[in-house]
């Protein structure tokens, strides 16, 4: 991927514009989203800094907004020219499901399942790896966080279902 082609991707300007629009919306919403009912003068109060910060983001995004508006239709759209992020997205999806699994089936089973599925997707799926790594990592996590650090984990919902 050449330098010229890299810079012509509209994705950079799109992200910059999203940040700019986000900053603008926060700037507009600030008086409602920041509690200014206290007695402090404006310069000591909680609103001044968020206003400066949102303005800073907006100022930084102006060139992106301008470029997107000017050349958006002709720009090509790719993340970095290194292919579509398929594996990354699948693993991200599994990561999003992981906390839900933690609540539903508990630390041990959700960790074991996440590792098996993730290893399968990233093609580290020899029988030895699929057997040893999920069990080993689950055991270590259980040992460190549950036994050693005594961290409280929510009771799996599925346990409640069985106990009823």
């Amino acid at each position: 991927m050449t330098e010229k082609k890299m810079s012509s991707s509209g994705v950079h300007d799109l992200l910059g514009s999203i940040l700019g629009v986000f900053a603008l919306s926060m700037l507009i919403a600030s008086p409602w989203q920041v509690d200014t009912s206290g007695p402090d003068p404006f310069y000591k109060g909680p609103l001044i800094y968020p206003l400066i910060v949102c303005s800073l983001i907006l100022a930084g995004s102006l060139p992106s907004l301008w470029r997107l508006f000017k050349t958006g239709r002709n720009a090509s759209w790719y993340l970095d020219g290194q292919g579509k992020p398929v594996k990354g997205l699948i693993i991200l999806g599994l990561l999003i499901l992981y906390p839900a699994g933690l609540l539903a089936v508990g630390l041990e089973f959700s960790t074991w399942l996440f590792l098996i599925l993730a290893l399968k997707f990233v093609k580290q799926d020899s029988v030895l790896k699929l057997t040893l790594i999920p069990i080993g990592v689950t055991f270590i996590l259980y040992l460190v966080f549950k036994l050693f650090l005594d961290v409280w984990f929510p009771e799996p919902l599925v346990m409640g279902f069985f106990s009823e």
Binding site: G16, D35, G38, K44, Y49, G60, D80, L92, L102, L141
Partner: protein, 492 residues
Amino acid sequence: MAGFWAAVSLANLAALFFGTFVGIVVGILPGLGPMVGMVVLLPISFSFSPQVALSLLLGVFCGGYFGGGIPAVLLRIPGVPSSMWTSFDGYPLTQRGEAQTALSATLLGSFGGGVISVVILIFLAPVLAHVASSFGPPEYFTVALFGVVLVVMASRNQLGRGIMLLGLGFWFATVGIDGSTLSQRFCFGTLSLQNGLDIVPICLGLFGIGQTLILVEQEIIKYSDIQLSRSTLDFSKLWKVMKYWKTLIRSGVVGTFVGLLPGTGSILASFLSYDVAKRLSKEPELFGKGTPEGCIASEAGNNAVPAGAMIPLLTLGIPGDAISAVLLGVFTINGIYPGPLLLIKEPVLINTLYFSLLFINVAAFAMTVIWLRPFAMIVKVPGRLLAVVIMVVSLVGIYAVNVRMFDVGVAIAMGALGYILLRMGWPIVNLIMGVVLGEIMENRLRQTLSLGDGSLWIIFQRPISLFLIILTVLIILVPLILDARKAKRSAV
């Protein structure tokens, strides 16, 4: 001496050795690096005392640079980006069958650079703290401003993106209950956001998850056989490379002072040390073709950065890079606020830190010397497999810090953001600096405004803050003018 005894306590030594070991491992593995190692251990570190937690994380920080040089020499694959210069001379030496000489130079450079920078830290920190003891809010605000401007200007080829990410980091820091007025800010009516966005899930998400998502997509590299004549380091070669002691000291000093400046980082430290060594060498023509002097210079430069970065962190509370920003987080979460008074208020902690840094360098050197071949073999572990394991460990760790599922959600969201930013090559370090410095900047700004009855004119009435403002303006203008001239010249 209390600091020494605290440093040699069993818990501290165990943390220090474990951290160093993890650091070497993540340093050797291309694509990971000390930052990922640190953020993964961050949640666990909160169950320890501050000095033990810092020893653990500093071990990863320094160990990472030690480890990064090994694959650079043996396979021409830098474990950490700053070891790239090491590979220029290390790999040609390996190809000539002199891997032991190259590794001796690399490890001696890392060790020497680390020790020199700790010595400079011990002497320079009190001096800087003495100067900073006369600082008021305007001075602190301008120092922080100077730091963030340096960070933004370090990536000035992406100025707009750098400013946006810094601003976004500042904004993240405003979410939750405002410390001074107890007002709600950007909570959107949710209870979870009232506690604010914790720095740990943000760092862990951006670096731990974001970086490992990148690793998942990388092709699996089949490495060639590792050419090592023996499983430990050959001490006769170590004595041989000792003749470059002047280069070692010089590079250590250069690396420390580069590390001291916010936004510069280990890549610049390594490059400058290498460049200075080449210019002053008796055999400059050998650089790039395989000379141990090049390996020593590069590694001494990058391994001097951790202690160098501790100087502004401990004395001013200003982190120089993303890694020291994480360390600042460890301090503040434990109720310790770095600044000029820290050296007076917490002498035991500071002395423990100094001794721990020295011991870390000794431990890293000893480990790499003794377990050279096993460490070198680590590079063959598939990155994707490690990435998946690191992700799940990170998520469980992040939950364990505050026992809040909300933090896990924040970490995943930040992981997705980090992944996009890393793939697009945006300066993600600005975002972290914004998150860490956001609260400091805001408090100092509001205090300065209070002192000036709502006016910032007070900054220009005080000599130190005026000097810092002039310096900040120069840092913005000079590179931009030079870039413009360069562009004009190349256009002609």
